[in-house]
């Protein structure tokens, strides 16, 4: 079914070379979800090997297998040419693997020194271990430019320094292979730069480094080789020097069957949504949206393309009235010419619905549906205070059921049983329940996030048709998808998001995947890297 595009793939790194780690046919399933599908991976000693892929591509599962958190269903792991069974993290440490997690595993109220020896104390008495560790720590810090005060309490340290402690911890345990999971997600640009220098220093010492990320720029900047993961598989391994960000972006996002959606040219009306200078800084202080300007007119579908994690989710959540807790927002949003508040009581999901915004959220199982609620209860979710669903103080459950029956029939939800809990429907039918609920309220602006993620082909066509119908009825649609083909097939206009900005807009008929891929990687197709984006984060 899925058509894989041809990518220039350099010959697999040949066996017989000096390999630090080799994975052969690693598979891991969680229930029905195949998180890793017969993964083959060879990492040469003394290199920095990038593993890139979108959220949910299976990167973290693979690394958890390497670190002994999961046992693979199939396949074997070779370290230094020898097959090893990594049964738990102790075995991983013995095999010379050190892991730096995205969320640090440090004891906040211990000192740096205490954290470094935690679990590696030699002997029951702490004092001699501490003395030995202090000397070793000073040597490591000097050799790798990673100065930290061994007696500082960890929670007093900056995030960047805490990460150093994690790396020192691994080195103290004599790790030869260092795995870093999304290490720059929490770092400032200067800290990230320093981290990269440290990693290059470690590589030059002969250590092997595996860098997991979904940021193309980091891959291009410091890796020697890179493997791209998508939907649990490694779709290619190339030498970084032989590739370019555009090709990588395309490989990450992947191409499905070309979806053809029959639609008449858009008949654009008045502007429905106007966004000006929208900024968002999340709870951790990271700027997720860096000044978004966007207009959508009645009767058009604006598609936002981009690699996941570049601010699309935040944009949808803000428009839908539920930004991340603790985030700070600025800028202006107006719907039908009325400015909407960004926070406070008037900015919640109810207020957004009253303003005429419908929302098919990105994650139907966590946001769009209450999985334990029956279909009929879900069919009113978010609109449960509408007059037609209520009779005085009580909810009119009979009316809600009747309404749900109609929606499920019109959207061909199977089985058409309103008394069935949402979790018992397939992904496609769950999504149809959400889409039916949102579209049938006839919103002026429909927000749609990943409408066809985990949805079967039949339901995809159906959902696409309904979205186009809504557009033809003169409504505005904001579509966010990581499926480039979905964006190309549905959109009347395409905006590409990268690193919290709109990189550019294209019309679908003149957009090529290459040009979009460039924008998705943060570069203007004709020029070099955009200064602001290229220099800001790394």
């Amino acid at each position: 079914m899925a058509v894989q595009p041809e990518h220039p793939t350099s010959p697999q790194i040949a066996a017989g070379q000096d390999l630090a780690i080799e994975l052969r046919g690693i598979s891991k399933a969680f229930g029905a979800v195949q998180a890793n599908k017969s993964i083959d991976l060879a990492v040469r000693r003394g290199t920095i090997h990038g593993i890139i892929g979108e959220n949910g591509a299976g990167k973290s599962t693979l690394m958890s297998i390497l670190y002994g958190f999961y046992r693979p269903d199939e396949g074997e792991i070779l370290i230094g040419g020898q097959p090893v069974a990594i049964t738990d993290s102790r075995a991983a440490i013995r095999a010379g693997i050190g892991m730096v997690f995205q969320h640090f595993k440090l004891v906040q109220n211990f000192t740096v020194l205490e954290n470094v020896i935690l679990g590696a104390e030699d002997g029951a008495l702490l004092r001699p271990s501490l003395a030995r560790a202090r000397g070793e720590l000073q040597r490591l810090a000097r050799d790798y430019e990673m100065q930290v005060d061994p007696d500082e309490i960890v929670e007093e340290l900056s995030v960047g320094h805490q990460q150093r402690v994690e790396i020192l911890k691994a080195l103290y345990r004599q790790a030869d292979i260092l795995i870093l999971d999304e290490p720059t997600g929490v770092l400032t640009p200067a800290e990230a730069d320093h981290l990269f220098r440290v990693l290059q220093g470690l590589r030059d010492e002969g250590k092997t480094i595996i860098l997991i990320t979904h940021k193309l720029r980091e891959i291009m900047k410091i890796t020697d080789n890179v493997s791209v993961m998508r939907r649990g598989e490694i779709v290619g391994t190339v030498a970084t020097a032989d590739t370019n960000p555009t090709a990588m972006a395309e490989m990450m996002v992947g191409r499905k069957v070309i979806l053809k959606v029959d639609k008449a040219p858009a008949r654009r009306g008045a502007p429905v949504l106007e966004i000006r200078g929208l900024r968002m800084v999340d709870d951790a202080g990271v700027e997720r949206l860096r000044g978004i300007d966007l207009d959508i007119r009645a009767g058009e579908i604006l598609g936002i393309a981009g690699v996941a994690g570049n601010g699309q989710s935040q944009l949808l959540e803000i428009l839908g009235g539920f930004p991340e807790v603790g985030s700070k927002l600025s800028g202006r949003i107006a719907v039908n010419g009325h400015e909407l508040p960004l926070d406070g009581r008037g900015a919640d999901g109810q207020a957004r619905r009253r303003a005429g915004i419908g929302h098919v959220p990105e994650d139907r199982q966590v946001e769009g549906l209450i999985m334990d609620f029956d279909a009929w209860e879900n069919a009113a979710f978010g609109y449960h205070d509408a007059p037609e669903y209520n009779r005085g103080l009580l909810m009119d459950n009979a009316a809600i059921r009747e309404d749900a029956r109609g929606k499920m029939a019109r959207f061909d939800v199977r089985p058409p049983d309103v008394e069935l809990a949402a979790r018992n429907f397939s992904g496609g039918n769950q999504q149809k329940i959400v889409v039916a609920r949102e579209i049938e309220r006839n919103p002026d602006l429909l927000l749609v996030g990943q409408p066809t993620r985990g949805v079967d082909i039949g339901a995809i066509e159906f959902i696409h048709k309904r979205i186009v119908e809504l557009r033809d009825a003169g409504k505005a649609v904001l579509l966010v998808s990581v499926e480039l083909d979905e964006i190309m097939a549905l959109s009347d206009r395409i905006a590409v998001m990268f690193d919290g900005r709109i990189m550019g807009e294209r019309l679908p008929e003149e957009a090529t995947t290459t040009a979009l891929g460039c924008l998705m990687a943060g570069m203007e197709p004709d020029a070099g890297p955009v200064q602001a984006a290229g220099g800001a984060r790394t």
Binding site: R352, G368, F373, H384, M395, N397
Partner: protein, 355 residues
């Protein structure tokens, strides 16, 4: 799944029997004493229903919070504070008739209980302090505030008892036996159950309406299942947390109508007798459904009354009754899955065979 609690109960009784055997008493005899004492006479029933009334209130309190994903284990403190509200209402307002006093006391008890739950609710909603920790702390604070008030402020001059004065006669609500007498037959003379039982049953019905028939109930169930989804739907976590805890605390506080106004007719120390904690077990066993809670409350009422009889008539120590009650809680609540999973597997296997 009515079978699960019954089997759990049987297991609890079986182990209790072994324990009773181990201390050299006859389990059959013990069961006989319990059943006869609690259910064998109208007087026994009267007392059993009195405890049942307490547990209905506290069980409902736990259940309402549970549906919103909140674990309110502060029923004890909320009922203690409810007692204070009821006492103040009965002592300082000159009620013309018990019916009005009953309504006033129910409101006062609920109000005090609700306000006592408000502080942990606010701390959870606004500051992220976990409600399990704060509500249990608030039990101790409530107990000590009451001790202070009863020994210093509310104790009548010259009394050596840490308790308020007796409530005026106009606030004395009739026991069920008095109602029976009014209607011309004798039933459970001087037993403890009183008209508050009807309020408890009314509350059970209203809680059912709240949870499954109102917008608020819909929103609190949605919030209890998934906070991100609730936020998506525009349901304010702060608002739901606070309103739910007010209702939950109010239900626990209303219990005081039964034990303070209906039974002791003055406020004494430790009037709640652990009913707040039993409410957790009652809600667990009753599957957080009002009908289940009424039934579970009846069972725990029986255990409490039967246990009192047991310590009165046999040499089985009072502590052993606590062991039996503990086993029931353990099996019906904590070990629920131990019984339910094999049962579900059994039924699934049978269905497969039939299909």
């Amino acid at each position: 799944m009515i079978l699960t609690p019954l089997i759990s109960l049987a297991l609890a009784f079986a182990i209790s029997a072994v324990v009773i055997l181990a201390i050299g008493e006859s389990p059959v005899e013990a069961l006989k004493v319990m059943v006869e004492g609690a259910l064998g006479s109208s007087y026994g029933w009267g007392n059993t229903l009195y405890y049942t009334t307490n547990y209905i209130f506290t069980g409902l309190a736990v259940a309402v919070a549970y549906h919103a994903g909140l674990f309110n284990i502060g029923g004890e403190g909320q009922a203690t504070m409810g007692g204070l509200g009821v006492a103040l209402c009965c002592l300082f307002i000159p009620w013309p008739h018990w019916t009005l006093a009953l309504l006033g006391a129910a409101v006062a008890g609920a109000l005090f209980g609700a306000l006592w739950a408000l502080i942990p609710a606010w701390l959870q909603a606004k500051r992220g302090s976990h409600i399990v920790i704060t509500t249990i702390m608030f039990n101790f604070i409530a107990y000590n505030i009451l001790t202070h008030l009863l020994s210093k402020t509310l104790r009548p001059l010259g009394s050596m008892d840490p308790a308020t004065a007796n409530f005026p006669p106009a606030t004395h609500i009739p026991g069920l036996w008095q109602l029976a007498e009014m209607m011309g037959f004798a039933w459970g003379k001087h037993s403890l159950a009183n008209v508050t039982l009807f309020i408890a049953l009314l509350m059970a019905f209203l809680v059912w309406v709240l949870i499954w028939r109102t917008r608020l109930g819909y929103e609190l169930r949605a919030f209890g299942k998934s906070e991100p989804a609730a936020r998506y739907a525009g349901i304010s976590p702060v608002r739901i947390t606070i309103i739910t805890m007010l209702i939950s605390g109010g239900l626990a506080g209303m219990m005081a109508v039964n034990n303070v106004m209906g039974m002791s007719e003055r406020l004494i120390l430790n009037a709640v007798e652990g009913a707040g904690f039993f409410g957790i077990a009652v809600a667990l066993m009753g599957r957080n459904h009002p009908v289940g809670i009424v039934l579970a409350a009846l069972l725990f009422g029986f255990l409490f009354q039967g246990g009192a009889e047991l310590s009165l008539w046999t040499s089985i120590p009072r502590e052993l009754i606590a062991v039996i009650q503990g086993l029931v809680i353990l099996f019906t609540g904590a070990l629920d899955n131990m019984v339910r999973l094999p049962l579900e597997r059994l039924f699934a296997a049978r269905r497969r065979k039939e299909g």
